[in-house]
Amino acid sequence: MTAQTETAAPPRTPHRIPLWANPRIGLVVLLVVLVVLFSVLRPAFLNTRLTLTPLQSDISVYLVVGLAQLSVLSLGHMNMAVGRMAATSAFTMGLVHDKLGAGLVLSLLAGLAAGALLGALAGLIISRTGVNSFVVTLAMDFALAGLITILYTGVTGGVAFPTMPAAMTSLRFDTFADYCLGDVCGPRVPLVVPFAVLAALLVGLLFRYSRLGREILMTGASPRAAELSGIPTKTRIVQAHALSGLLAALAGFLLAANNGAFSASVGDSFLLPSFLAPVLGGTLLVGGAVSVLGAVLGATLTQVIYKGLNLLQFQLDELQLYIGLVLLAALSLDRARHVLAQRRGSRP
């Protein structure tokens, strides 16, 4: 949002914000309360095989989706096309495997490259024309939504590829408990989890320690100041969007692994969760600040709520209602906490 990025760079509060005002602590407390509540109401919530293992797969997918959004939120931009970028990448993976007979690694790399290219294209249009990222990615979403169905119908004659790499079946069903070294077996953690953990670690390291990440954040905080400090802001915009596309592609791959097929519907439900995870975790829409740990907590919280309400046999409509209410409540509380903390801090 141009209007916002210009007035961005929220005045940094000179005093330290007290610990209790840290939004991450609030999320952890909320998470613990909800887990206890759900386990008391439905003891099946703690069943490893039925609940906890699938829950970890879901969290992995939506964490990566959240990271895809987070990498452009760092600029104060949005990526409305996360879902379609994921779908287009999943199509590429399916195509490379099904038609060219490539294995898992090669298909995955091709898909990631397709996602990164799409993201870079969005970034290129945004940085060259100066048009709002919302419009560009929304139009891209429109265009890709049409393209994906046409491509699937044209190539497969249906809405999904009939085959997928054999290794993806193990990604779908296996946990580390199925792999043993002598008598020592791993925990019941699905094989998709390391992908998400690795992605979160790398994105966290990027924004915290690398020059590239810091420069992207500075571009987000104040494009003009960054430009004047000699940061190639246009290149940084392209790179951040390419990262977003890459992560969207990874999320598409993980979801396809969970679902067991490269299908046209991959990514359909990505848009709302992509904002939920980072925004609940304290990432600002105006850019200049991200919290990867917050995104991890945000994604976990959302999926715990979904799973818990599902177990309590809530209907789809009630589920949506409560997710919306939780989002509003969490954000309002966050706001109230922030205001309180500032008032306390400004008192001599």
Binding site: M1, Q4, V131, A139, F142, A145, L285, L327, L328
Partner: protein, 328 residues
């Protein structure tokens, strides 16, 4: 016409044929004629032409509903869901509560207005970005919309209302005329009323507007309220024109609601609106729709084309702005 906070007199040498609306108008007329020729005049037959304009009504109103919040630099992601919710609520009032049609229509409008004001109040009170607030309320409203009647369809409500949906005046469908009347009212609101000018002023520069004594908070609440009211109007038109409603109404309205004003030349940053541009853009999108139906093209091509047109429109806008900069 494009209405900005600045008066038109400050743009000397801006001739009619250089406005984006003129370009859009030419494309619209040319496209319409081309399609009429390509279909062998089938488009001009009374039945096809009636259907063309009947299903243009809702896209116009929903585009205006988004435009009103864009004017103050906000977005309303809940327009589509709200349209569906108001439609379901009014059908419920007529069928299950037994209210007469006029009361149900009024209730749908009031419901839209109330939800819109609620959106605005949340934005003002919490200071959370309007995008996130309406994303959350969209999710909530989707739940409520489904909650009215589950997956079932309402039909067979007030005969008078459905009659109105099918009626034509001078060859043009009544619902289309209502949409045009609403557009005229919105244009007058932004062009002639103090409140409308204040909305544009606070959209253009909240800070400058505040210094001139305009409450930005008030503008936000008014804009969101008006957006909700227009979503209510769209709901009434849907109920009248379609003859049956279910919980999926509004799902396919969110993206067109942005496409119409953006192709029409409304800036996302706020401070300017273009009612004519939004109308013409909605017309163009409808034209693509009809083309798809007439030639039996895969409907997915329509999404692809509209996406490309939106991107093309913004690119064209930037090129034009650069050329103008260079020529001055």
């Amino acid at each position: 016409m494009t209405l900005t906070a600045a008066s038109r007199a400050t743009l000397p040498g801006r001739h009619l044929w250089r406005t984006p609306e003129f370009t859009l108008g030419v494309i619209a007329v040319a496209g319409f004629l081309a399609l009429a020729v390509a279909t062998g005049g089938n488009l001009l037959s009374a039945g096809t032409l009636g259907a063309f304009f009947r299903f243009l009504a809702v896209p116009i109103v929903i585009g205006l509903s988004q435009m009103v919040v864009l004017a103050v630099g906000q977005m309303n992601l809940s327009v589509g869901a709200l349209t569906g919710f108001c439609a379901m609520a009014s059908a419920w009032l007529m069928l299950e509560a037994g209210l007469p049609a006029p009361l149900a229509v009024l209730a749908a409008l009031l419901l839209g207005l109330a939800v819109g004001v609620g959106n605005g109040a949340l934005v003002v009170l919490t200071r959370i970005n309007g995008f996130i607030v309406t994303l959350a309320t969209m999710t909530i409203i989707q739940g409520l919309r489904y909650g009215v009647n589950g997956p079932d369809t309402y039909q067979g409500y007030s005969a008078g209302l459905r009659e109105f949906g099918r009626a034509s005046i001078l060859g043009l469908p009544a619902v289309f005329l209502v949409a045009v009347a609403v557009a005229v009212l919105v244009a007058l609101f932004f062009g002639r009323t103090v409140t409308g000018r204040q909305l544009l002023a606070s959209g253009g520069s909240p800070f400058a507007a505040r210094l001139s004594g305009i409450s930005h908070d008030r503008s936000l609440i008014i804009a969101h309220g008006l957006s909700g009211l227009l979503a209510g109007v769209a709901a009434v038109l849907t109920v009248a024109a379609s003859g049956s409603v279910n919980a999926t109404i509004g799902d396919d309205l969110l993206l067109p609601s942005f496409a119409a004003p953006i192709i029409g030349g409304v800036a996302l940053a706020g401070g300017m609106v273009s009612v004519t541009g939004t109308l013409l853009a909605a017309f163009l999108i409808r034209l693509v729709d009809v083309m798809q139906a007439q030639f039996g093209i895969n409907p997915r091509w329509v999404d692809l084309i509209i996406g490309a047109v939106v991107l093309g429109a913004v690119l064209l806008g930037t090129v034009r702005a650069k050329l103008q900069e260079r020529s001055t």
